[in-house]
Symmetry: D2
Subunit: 378 residues, 4 copies
């Protein structure tokens, strides 16, 4: 499966590495991913990165590259506002597409992409990579096996602090036209995706969005406004009856990548914090009363999701491995003619929650999350 | 200072113990608290408990007892709906009053008590005992010293699971007429008080209240409705500009007494969980970049709040000690003619947040927290 | 049961408090402990403390006091070298005796006390209070129930740092004639007692004793030698076949009261650290392979040892409660004509391990721990 | 730099991956490592692995392969008894050599290799990969900067449980002729290397070696004796005056890869556990008394060792990254004509500690660790 990838920054590196390791560590993969062409705006950067990572070619014109007949699949790892045109072009060229999150800058554009993906009949996916943390997959397994009973309460967070310094300049992530939103789309989107993955569809939300630092240096001198939120909090009600709260910020002094959750069911609960990547905490009422307690499961056993491919127990893995698992699953799905989850339909569903959160913040009231195309759901 | 106490259950024991230990461990106390009379509805229970705990007398008629000339101070440790008449009677008799939380079942009754307390000119306090956890006081000190910089984000919880079993019968805590509310008044009130203590006054809230088990066995056979919430979540905006979220439930499977907070400021942050009573986590940007991290402060040093009275470093104390500190501070305040914090004015302020949360849940929208007597604060 | 207590310092406070709380919190106690007479060298101190803690009388002549006909039981809470004469006098007067640890300054003196106790036919105990931490008792229960299988490996520590400051003066604890040894007898004795309690008798040891700060200010000016160890480490072999290591020091910068253990058996393991008093970690191979992990048991449930007397789940207790449990068990044993564990026989057994460790350090070789009176055991 | 590697099992995978990632993630590397030839006993296995990992060739005759003129460096990743002949051949052929630990099965063979390496004038290293955990390197930095003051006490462990199941058959790791020793050489060697890296040279030891399961299934049916230790514990005295204890076992039920240490100095301390790969705990007396506590440093900042090559803060890495760092450093050293640490001289020094531990176990007494060639050091 010959890949083109657009994007040469953080995500470009993560996916390049994943394309290599997925092939090497997972001999069960039916086809080998090939790093055909890397596309970047600046040629020097694209070339340097292509050579470093073993891409066969590099290019600067993404429109041309995504149409190449020697490309089977496209990874889109660019700023959010470019996802829509790039994915659309790739889909129209009949390529499989794996797009970075959030899928688009608005629910309407996301819905449009979901429709285009359906028309194209290819494999499509959104890179909510945290669905591929072994501990997270284990949490879902425990839930599916009924070990928590009916889920009642979900508490999700994504706390970082990399925007603390007010002298950091404005980048695309801080501009609403390019990013769509701030902490909301960047990281609360992950929290929403995990909530949807682990509990189910969200029916309605009430939100609060806050901008702590409203002005920053402009990249080219002078000052520029921050036009997105720095912190997003939502209370949520799931369609299935559970309730919850989600909060994300890039100003949580001391927390670096605290993408976590606590899930409480009738019979048990689980807890996770990405800063302790290899651990899942699990509590069950089934244990004898005097011996109940949260188990710190070190998720590095052969019985654990994806771990058979890696190292002996206790030999930890890390963040980048989520991308390896993602590429593995995407290639396996595309090669096997199966759907990848989350696909663009799910990506759009997440986007509609983001949109509802923005509308709720504007109105100050609980807001229903609509179905595809804005249709009422219930 | 001669005490009368109404209540012979959980809180009665906690206060009885505190009256003993405050005198024994704090020789600086200007007057010694005397356990004059214990009041309980059922004589046998009152007598047994009085003998066990060294109360000089017991009684069953609280109206008479709170007026006794040989009583200087009254502790009210009864179900919530009794706080108002009992406190009122004690205040009118000119006694110092320490009342269990929440102060009343409605903001209006709480405001009434605050007014009565002001008229009485005595010492009055609400037993939000978690203000006397040494780690919590230390957190406040760090904040007051400016070590966290301006506070931006507050995340509070109070998670328990003692109502999980649906065969537990309805008690006064599950009836709106006696309790006022459920998790909201019982434990979210603690979270609100700590938020107010550590950050400041709350301006507005949006809330969600959930009842997971709507019907339970009635104490006398048959079934009875649960008429309060089992879980309360609020997003809050503080007057000073900080924002936050608070959540409380008695259905958090696996969490026993997780009264905790995370507070993020411009320069640092602190974290606390009551299940690890003797620990405070503290992070500061002032540490060298390569050596930054949350410090697990074992709050058992002589330099720590209240600890000089207790044991050598590392020799932990526990939940009951908050009551000892509370009695110590109350007796010292009353004897010295000083105010105790939180007093009834603060108790009423907390109650207005609870009321606003209930109104928000009904309206589905952000709701301003009024000032005393329901006045707009804006 | 009328108590005399010798000692007005740290241990005196702990026992005074325990005598009060044991009666108040444990209504099942067949007799009520009475604080008859407190004995201290300095009258002013004894008087102040007696008044503060409700001792009926105070005295300065311990020889006379322990013989009083209105005294049934004696607590010895003085420097180590006084344990032998005081216990001997109390035993000869037919009193029940609870002595602080270590029982004596040498194995020979401890054996002598054990013999005297047997002759006296009273209840005798050594205040190894950590046998009364609920989490420790729970650990023993799990072991007794076979949940760990055969024990193979024991790792014990007692790490403190209160001697770090070299300007602290020499006290009795740093003089071999008064203390017998340093970290060895003061705190490794606790680790040895727990090892014996949880695994069984120790057959042989090899040790290392280290003095980090050999000279300190003398209390009366000038300099004085430290004549005891600052750190003691031993490798041990248990009679039952298990092996282990124990280490104690008062120079473990950052550790305040890290009295802990890890116990590994064929089927499971447990871990404990006194700094997290209310927690026991437990791992079992019986859990499903994908869900194995150390459970953090919050040892505050009604099902847990001693907890029925205290507070609801999650409402933690602390260090002082071990003394309350100890008094409870001692009074119950003495009143019921039963033995208390650990008694003087066990105290002497512990002392023989301490002696063997000192001899091993001198010889540089593995050293057998003898039986009572120095008899070979094997 | 063209590599040959002997070994196609666990270590072969780890090094293959490292050769790829070192080039991709570290563009500062002066030369690119090339995967020239992979050598395995069984051709099918060698071929499969070579194809999977991008080795240009594969071979079965290591004697021939290590002499090839198109090979610059050799990695030896085979059972312990093969290290000596293979390293010797590679050194004699003038190749740089990176050998798995322990360097040999006896100190004498290790000394021999160290001498051969000195004669060869090439770059030589022993793959004690845990020196390349960022948290461990940070610990060393803190020590070198004097932040802990003089080190007094070192406590090291390496606890695993993968041998728990008595039905696991005997492999080379359980045969003294092939492995040299059991837990001692396999994992206590890591603990010794870290102790030497972080504190310094060890002067003398006293040890205990235990075999818990003495007989297991033979690979070809029947039963076979386990001829190595299952657990090794040593008390150590460092030349510099510090003291310590080290313990390793593969029977620590519940611990998977607990390679850890606690280091106590006059002014501070650090703690590490490989199961929490990305964390270092650090305590300093320099903090204000009321705010002292172990800092959990999340070692994922750009300021941290090796981290500039990886991901943003909080995006964790794992066990395999130690091999990437190791290859990076080895290639950089070899290309730059510099020594790699630990080299064969250090590998032999470690081996002499292992030998001393074995002799101490036999004699039951403290045993001096000799210098190179068995020379007395003191």
């Amino acid at each position: 499966m010959r890949f083109a990838m657009i994007g040469t920054a953080f995500m470009g590196t993560a996916h390049s590495h994943a394309l290599h390791d997925a092939a090497a560590f997972f001999p069960d993969l039916p086809v080998r991913p090939v790093k055909r062409v890397l596309i970047g705006r600046r040629e020097a950067r694209a070339r340097e990165m292509a050579e470093r990572w073993g891409w066969e070619e590099w290019a600067t014109d993404w429109r041309e590259a995504v149409r190449r007949p020697d490309v089977d699949a496209v990874i889109v790892g660019t700023p959010n506002h470019l996802h829509h045109p790039m994915c659309l072009a790739a889909l129209e060229a009949g390529k499989h597409v794996l797009c970075e999150k959030p899928l688009a800058t608005t629910a309407s554009l996301a819905d449009d992409l979901a429709a285009a993906a359906a028309r194209a009949g290819v494999c499509h996916g959104v890179a909510f990579n945290y669905r591929r943390v072994p501990a997270v997959v284990l949490a879902r397994r425990l839930i599916e096996e009924g070990r928590l009973g009916t889920i009642r309460l979900y508490r999700g967070t994504y706390l970082q602090d990399w925007l603390l310094d007010p002298s950091l300049p404005v980048t695309w992530r801080l501009r609403v036209d390019e990013a769509g939103s701030g902490a909301l789309g960047d990281i609360l989107s992950h929290a929403i995706d995990l909530a949807r993955y682990l509990v189910g569809e969200i029916a309605e939300v009430v939100s609060d969005l806050t901008t702590f630092v409203a002005e920053r240096p402009a990249p080219d001198g002078g000052r520029a406004s921050v036009t997105v939120d720095d912190r997003a909090a939502v209370l949520v009600r799931f369609i299935g009856g559970a309730v919850g709260s989600l909060e994300a910020t890039r100003f949580a002094t001391g927390r670096k990548c605290a993408n976590g959750f606590e899930i409480f069911g009738e019979r048990g609960s689980v807890r996770f914090d990405l800063e302790r990547f290899n651990e899942l905490e699990y509590y069950t009422q089934d244990d004898a009363p005097e011996a109940r307690g949260y188990r710190r499961i070190l998720v590095t056993e052969r019985e654990h999701p994806y771990l058979r491919a890696w190292w002996p127990p206790g030999h930890t893995i890390g963040w980048e491995h989520t991308f390896v698992h993602q590429i593995h699953d995407f290639v396996a799905a595309a090669a096997g003619g199966r759907a990848f989850a989350p696909d663009f339909v799910e990506g759009a569903a997440c986007q509609r929650v983001l949109d509802a959160a923005m509308r709720s913040h504007a109105s100050g009231a609980w807001t229903a999350v609509p179905g595809p195309g804005g249709a009422a759901r219930g």
